[in-house]
Symmetry: C2
Subunit: 352 residues, 2 copies
DNA sequence: CCAGTCTCGGAGAGCGCTCTCTGAGAGCGC
DNA sequence: GCGCTCTCAGAGAGCGCTCTCCGAGACTGG
């Protein structure tokens, strides 16, 4: 404040001196004060206040090997991250959980392989205790990076690679994509629809594949022309819908793998004069706030609780951190942590 | 890898031993290798590779007092941050610049005063070398927090408080809101519009105030009923527009303080059967991608280069960091760093 | 050929903190 | 009243790294 060249921050030593105790005692007080008599605690606390002491994290981390900070790595371009409400909801859930456990959330953006190096160094450098990986692609490179850095990881969404590849250690949180898709398709079938099409997500993403699998579970005999790959954008949904109408003008039901794509599809259906749901029934996926409810007509969709998934991811990570830290109850197996698959629920609105 | 209990990370000591040099030499090589003969450099590099050595940041930071990490603090609710394209663009600019200088971007979310404590501790704990504060409110509490933590700061947008308050030290990057607003209003006036209304942003935000000032610069005699406060949302813009039409059905021009509000206003004008621009000419502000160009009709607006502003913020911070670090050329005044105001430019499309 | 200069590598002192280990004093039972 | 345990505070050893000396050797000029 007074000095332009930042005044040297007070150290524990200074606090101890002022309180008339040893550094060790001061440290104890700063860290909760267990094992220190009341009056002494008071004296140290006062010294801390008077000096405006704040522990130097680097020094603390150096010895404790903890940061109380969790990285959330998003491997999508910024524009994507800051536009897709999916991330917003997931991050909010994570933030809630982390904050509750006094952990700092550190959001790391990675615009692809270009800066894997820096990211890897950052992780391995011990800036954070663990990492949550949020990427629709959920590919292995980031996971491997973190793993190589010795940082516990929980990923959002089932990983792309087979279990053999990722090893039993990789925890994830995902929703029941396949089951949700089945519900959606059964609902359409239950409405008497006979020609049901599917607009998938990008098929390099496990969620897309799982939803497609769910679709096929119910309608294994669907001809190929009724399945078109989209890209989780409104335009992609519109394009897919146009293609579907060209190929099969007689279709009477559509299951889009996301609400956003469904909204694009609805637009095209309206343009082409098809009534929804009378002529074509449409079901989406996600129950994304400010999407599903606002389409015209409001979208019947499969709800997944994204915020809750974020919360679960954080909780899972914190728990696995606790295990890693715990001085190991000998060889006693710690309660095994396992990945979580959250349920989905069909939300019926007007579009189907 | 092999060991579930993370194998102890190799230290510099280990690298040095393997390369048959001292720790000091190993350190020199790791940090660029200046002053070490070629062959030795090679040997050390090889040892680093073989051991997969990665420097422990905490230890390094402890002595260098540098992190090569910059915090971007966003003091808005997650939903806001992840929805408003404004942040996306600004963060992208920041990210670009930081990445170019090998700095890690650390995004810190703060859901308000509730966790000022943690945030303050994080900053003061020396996790980051500097902070960029992104908040439309740009109020002083965060700035004070960072300042108290001894962390250099650059804020996005002119601070709310007067210069006396923030002190000469607070750097910011903002666009020429006032000048931009003047251009917008002059354009409307130049089209022969006589009853020009203004939908402002929230007036607790400096940007809104500046734009209002610009409006008044050109039309000082505008009656109060032609000025309505909005909130930078489409609905807010719509509400304001409705109010304006009620109060002054004869208005023939509107300057909205943001594209998003302008889009809401356009909707209302269309509902009420006013043709744009024939009956009412509309000008927005921001030239926000995927907003201004996609309204019907496309929006005439005041362009500000948000990504560039992000880049400038980062550059300014890095530069002030460099000064702070530089062992001070004695008492020689360092080249003064000053806040930056970027120009705006009127982009004429169809709405006015 | 030797003093002087320069280059390069090593020794070692911390950075600020935590945590174990030790010892001092208090409290207890017999 | 003596030895015991138990509580609590201090001493001190690092955590892994950087960086400032210093000294050893190579090289230059006279």
């Amino acid at each position: 404040m007074s000095d332009p060249v930042s005044a040297p921050r007070p150290t524990l030593e200074a606090v101890a001196a002022r309180a008339g105790v040893s550094r060790a005692t001061a440290s104890r007080v700063v860290n909760g004060g267990a094992g220190v008599r009341g009056p002494l605690v008071e004296r140290v606390r006062q010294a801390v206040d008077e000096l405006g002491y704040i522990p130097n994290q680097a020094a603390r981390t150096l010895v404790t090997r903890r940061n109380d900070a969790i990285a959330v790595i998003v491997a999508e371009p910024e524009t994507r991250v800051f536009t897709d409400p999916f991330f917003a909801q997931q991050v909010r859930g994570i933030s809630r959980e982390l904050t509750g456990h006094d952990n700092q959330l550190v959001l790391l953006l990675s615009d692809g392989a270009s800066d894997d190096g820096r990211l890897g160094r950052y992780l391995a450098g011990g800036h954070v205790d663990g990492a949550l990986i949020l990427s629709l692609h959920a590919d292995d490179s980031l996971t491997g990076l973190a793993r190589g850095a010795g940082v516990p990881v929980v990923i959002g969404g089932r990983p792309t690679w087979s279990e053999e590849h990722t090893g039993r250690g990789t925890l994830y949180v995902d929703c029941d994509n396949r089951g949700g898709a089945r519900d959606a398709v059964r609902h359409l079938a239950g409405l008497g629809r006979r020609r049901i099409a599917h607009i998938t997500g990008p098929l390099d993403q496990p969620a897309s594949v799982d939803r497609l699998d769910g679709f096929r579970d119910v309608l294994p005999d669907t001809p190929a022309e009724l399945i078109v790959e989209g890209d989780f954008t409104p335009d992609g949904g519109a394009r897919a819908m146009r293609l579907l109408l060209e190929r099969s003008p007689d279709l009477d039901g559509v299951f889009a793998a996301s609400d956003v794509m469904a909204s694009g599809a609805l637009r095209v259906l309206r343009e082409r004069g098809r009534r929804v749901p009378e002529d074509v029934a449409v079901v989406g996926f996600d129950d994304m706030v400010s999407v599903a409810e606002w389409t015209d007509p409001p979208l019947t969709t499969v709800r997944q609780d994204i915020e809750e998934m974020g919360r679960l991811m954080a909780r899972l990570l914190l728990r696995s951190l606790a295990h890693a830290t715990a001085p190991g109850s000998g060889d006693l197996q710690p309660p095994l942590l396992s990945s979580i698959v959250t349920p989905t629920r069909l939300v019926v609105r007007a579009s189907a």
